[in-house]
């Protein structure tokens, strides 16, 4: 029993310490120091790796999720004779929930794990230590551009996901199943509100992007610099960021759409 309490205490303390360290990393790389001009090319490069290279998986997933939503929505709504509402259903579920959440999960798997592995490998091959010895702060040089790139890319990817999804659903519902395209779009436009739906979805995307990149960067920077340590850190990035995204999604949804 005492042993158990000790273990519990130890784990709690080490988790708290890890959280503190991650906050410190975030603070030192982003908040405390303004981005110098020199960072711009680095940022471009990271946006390329984090954003542009994630584009394909986002577009393909968005397309298929939209098509599935269109198909499912049609078959369910057709039972009530209101298949015209499929546009509304697809757009609301995409803009409010699916686009930010699925994009964040894919982003964690595609970009987050790559970030962790890259930074972890840099640590293992002493590149981070070497930067420090050259007199360059690795938090500013390596971590900060990656964090900023994550914040910038996630909302953009989410928007792209939503648009492709809506378009994919239209493809199925309008072109294939033959819903009148006017009622598809008008129904959608009448039920989706820019401020309360699109902007809230965007806010979710920003929050998720922030959390996922933060976790990925921290796990890489704090990993045990061995091949086993890096693989564990990569796994932790995906698991933790997925859980964080899903948990935060509930909280944000409750704040935005539920009258709590």
């Amino acid at each position: 029993m005492i042993d158990f309490m000790q273990k519990l205490g130890h784990r709690t303390l080490s988790k708290l310490a890890a959280f503190g360290r991650s906050g410190q990393i975030l603070f030192q790389s982003v908040v405390a120091k303004p981005a110098p001009v020199m960072m711009f090319p680095l940022l471009i490069k990271q946006i390329y790796f984090v954003g542009v290279l994630s584009l394909i998986i986002i577009v393909v997933s968005g397309l298929f999720i939209g098509m599935v939503l269109g198909l499912q929505g049609y078959t369910i709504l057709a039972d009530y004779g209101s298949e015209e509402a499929v546009g509304q259903m697809v757009a609301l579920s995409l803009v409010r929930e699916l686009a930010p959440v699925v994009t964040a999960l894919l982003f964690a798997g595609r970009a987050g794990s790559a970030l962790t592995a890259e930074i972890g490998l840099m640590k293992a091959t002493e590149q981070l230590a070497s930067l420090e010895m050259i007199g360059v702060d690795p938090l500013r040089r390596i971590i900060a551009p990656r964090l900023y790139a994550g914040f910038i890319c996630m909302p953009l990817l989410t928007m792209i996901f939503a648009v492709v999804g809506v378009w994919g659903a239209a493809l199925v519902a309008v072109d294939w199943l033959g819903i009148y395209s006017g009622s598809y779009w008008v129904n959608m436009q009448q039920s989706v509100d820019f401020m309360s739906d699109v902007v809230n979805g965007l806010i979710k995307a920003v929050v998720f992007g922030f959390v996922v990149t933060w976790i990925a960067v921290y796990q890489g920077y704090d990993c045990v610099p061995t091949s086993e340590g890096i693989s564990q850190a990569t796994t932790r990035t995906v698991v933790y960021s997925s859980l964080a995204v899903l948990g935060l999604d509930f909280i944000l949804t409750a704040l935005m759409f539920g009258d709590l």
Binding site: S82, M159, V192
Partner: protein, 152 residues
């Protein structure tokens, strides 16, 4: 050269991202910057608004002419007071128009339908529609039906 293609693709990516936002704003949410807030307000009192909510549409002959902006309870009359914003180009509603709360489809959203009257004068901004018909409440209907059955 490698840097250049990278920069171009990043620029392209940012552009698609912002375009996507624009599409979401204009095409999906039907955001119409011109009509927002430019309309005029009219009011109507209802005994029962049922499930009407803010942002419900206001239509005439099935064509949307505005939306519900606010719902409150009038403390003197103890009736629901609905504030509607009518698009500015709809400036020909006759003063004796009537408003009724309707339901789109069997289970759909509730909205306000305006039925034009015959008066030559038009509704000015801030005026009330006096001729109103409340929402159909299923329980009331069932209640009335049962009462009829009993009395027969």
């Amino acid at each position: 050269m490698r840097m250049r293609t990278m920069e171009i693709s990043v620029g392209f990516f940012m552009l698609i991202g912002f375009l996507a936002l624009v599409v979401l704003a204009l095409n999906v949410s039907g955001l119409n910057l011109a009509s927002k807030g430019a309309g005029y307000k009219i009011y109507a009192n209802f005994e029962n608004i049922g499930g009407l909510t803010a942002r419900a549409k206001v239509s005439m002959s099935g064509v949307q002419i505005g939306e519900v902006t606010r719902i409150r309870l009038d403390p003197q009359m103890l009736m629901a007071e609905v504030e509607m914003e009518i698009y500015p180009d709809i400036d020909f509603l006759s003063a004796d128009s009537s408003a009724m709360i309707l339901t789109s489809g069997l289970l759909g959203q509730q909205y306000i339908g305006i039925i034009p009257g015959g008066d030559v004068e038009v509704l000015a901004p801030g005026e009330f529609i006096y001729n109103t018909q409340s929402a159909l409440v299923l329980e009331d209907l069932v209640g009335k039906f049962l009462m009829n059955q009993v009395s027969e």
